[in-house]
Amino acid sequence: MKNKIILYGGTLAFGILGPMLFPAYISQFTVLWLMVVFALTWDIMGGQMGYNSLGNIFFFGIGMYVCAIVQVGMYYDVAEYTAYSGEVKVAFTPAQHFIGFAVGLLAAAVTASLLAVAFGWIVFGLRGPYFAIGTLGVAIAAGELMGAWDYVGGGGGMSLPGFPGESDGSTFYYVLMFLLAIATFLFLRWLYASRFSLAINAIRDDEEKAEGMGIQTNRYKTVAWSISAFFLGISGGIFGNMTGFIEPLEVAFPTVTFGIFMVLMALLGGKGTLWGPILGAVLFHVIKELTWTYLLGWQWVALGALIVINVVFFQQGIVGWMQERWPEKFGIEVDEPIDADNVRQREAAK
């Protein structure tokens, strides 16, 4: 209990005091919480349910675009807006801006969830590697198709209405992202303590058996995917507004950067645990930001190498390793293994 208070209090204090003490790095802190959301939502599928998606970034990008379209579309014609992107400054009153943003986030979350249901129908029949490659394909295709859709500015992207007033809104977006991370965490903590997590864990351990036990596996899988899509959609909307300019390949559907970071962070921290993805996200983001600029072009090579090392040699992740090392601290009861060696040792000890 005491440990828990330290853990929660420490995280909360870090989230509030961090940007206050280092205001220059506030957008870095925002990205940090974005990474936490990424890792947590990936882990619903990858860690708890055993469905390793490589294309979850799809919902992030969809959220970003839907939010932007709604924000602009509520007051102007989107096609005209994107056609003159950058040249014609459209004026949004603060009220228009915030109402549009709120509606946009809601629309982003709902659209992403609905698309998760639709795509779930297509890809959930695929197992294991087929699922991973199928989802990767969906994300890559989405980026390409968005780039060809002139309504949203095509490959040239579209800029979003600026934050009203003097400030650039970085504090506002920070608070939103921090709240989103907290909401995601609390929701997942509740979810993982419910029957739902038992069902998705059963799917991970043996899907055929789970089905045989009467679990409606397809329904659970779809719901799990829409949950991650819901939060990812919102995070996309916030991030799009924060950057102020969205573009299909690098910002909205960055399959090889953010899309892979999600997987890597969850694996690094320990997949299938509640705190693992958070720890992995924080650690990864800090290491990345500290070292990225000093590697002079080698950073991507280092990223690939990190994936390989992580997957091949350290797949249980940090929290997974801790659970193995000190199971009693995590409330896991371990029966002493009984085999010939064990008995012989015990005999020798006597």
């Binding site: 695929l126 490659i133 199928g134 090579v301 994936i307 091949v312």
Partner: protein
């Protein structure tokens, strides 16, 4: 979007041209896909670095061409270099993922793919490159259909390579051991086959095949450090559509994909090329699923 579709009806020669180009390039796709089918069937490793092996082979050809040596001589050299590279990769990484769950091999090879693509980018820069082969272009049907000799040479070489591979798998001792391991690794072990060595050889052979395919692709088409993933997806499309252990199927699917890409590239525009490959992948996956569902109903 479909601006060019009328042209296909106005000028029927274009169909012949596109089909021919597609089939000639598709043979090279089939070659790389056969390597993937081999590794997938024998070791159950889904190699996402497949396309990057191809691109590596391509850069070996480019280096040759830039030094004034005809890139066709790079073919055996690239095969040997890639064979050694595959062996190295096997003993350092792949060996440790064979026994693990399916996603591990996928993600590990994806990591390898990123390392390779980025290293090639650092070494050669992000520009699109071609291995100049100096072959001429031939024309048929009153100059309406042109075929570059490079493509024909590549096609013939690919066919010879494929034929050599089939003979190797059928006749040689190692080929038989590979097929035995694919059928039942445990039984093969009991029979005295060193499966560890078979795995290492299979993976290296795959890398060598990809390297050779890469040399040919660099000669007839373009290469760029980040084209690897598209080639990987192509291989996956072909193997998923044809199933492994089905060489005629792999060849047919490879040729079909090549032709389909040429047509969609012409009708939709070149920027849709990657989207086409991915779209075909998704279509194949859905089709497979429908097949499975039918199968399931029959079983029930």
């Amino acid at each position: 979007m479909f601006d060019n579709i009328d042209l296909l009806f106005i000028a029927p020669y274009l169909n012949v041209q596109l089909l021919l180009d597609g089939l000639l390039i598709g043979a090279l796709f089939a070659l790389a896909a056969y390597g993937l089918a081999l590794v997938w069937g024998v070791m159950n490793v889904k190699n996402l670095a497949q396309g990057d092996f191809v691109i590596m082979g391509g850069y070996i050809a480019v280096v040759f061409a830039n030094h004034g040596i005809h890139p066709i001589y790079a073919l055996p050299i690239a095969a040997v270099i890639m064979f050694a590279f595959g062996w190295l990769l096997y003993i350092t990484i792949i060996k440790r993922v064979i026994e693990r769950d399916l996603f591990t091999s996928l993600l590990a090879t994806f990591g390898i793919a990123i390392v390779l693509a980025q290293s090639l980018n650092l070494a050669f820069g992000p520009d699109v490159q071609v291995a100049q082969s100096g072959f001429k272009t031939m024309s048929f049907m009153d100059g309406n259909v042109t075929v570059s000799q490079a493509k024909l040479v590549a096609f013939v070489l690919a066919a010879i390579l494929a034929f050599g591979l089939i003979t190797f798998m059928k006749k040689s001792r190692m080929g038989q051991a590979i097929r035995a391991t694919a059928q039942d690794a445990r039984a093969a072990k009991v029979m005295g086959i060193d499966t560890e060595k078979v795995y290492a050889f299979t993976f290296s052979l795959n890398a060598a095949i990809c390297g050779a395919a890469g040399v040919l692709i660099a000669m007839v088409w373009v290469i760029q450090p980040f084209f690897g993933i598209t080639h990987s997806i192509r291989s996956f499309v072909i193997v998923t559509a044809a199933g492994f252990g089905n060489l005629p199927g792999v060849i047919m699917a490879g040729l079909g994909l090549g032709a389909m890409e040429q047509f969609s590239g012409f009708i939709l525009g070149a920027e849709f090329q990657q989207a086409t490959v991915v779209g075909v992948l998704i279509a194949v996956l859905i089709w497979r699923q429908i097949q499975q569902r039918k199968h399931r109903q029959v079983v029930e």
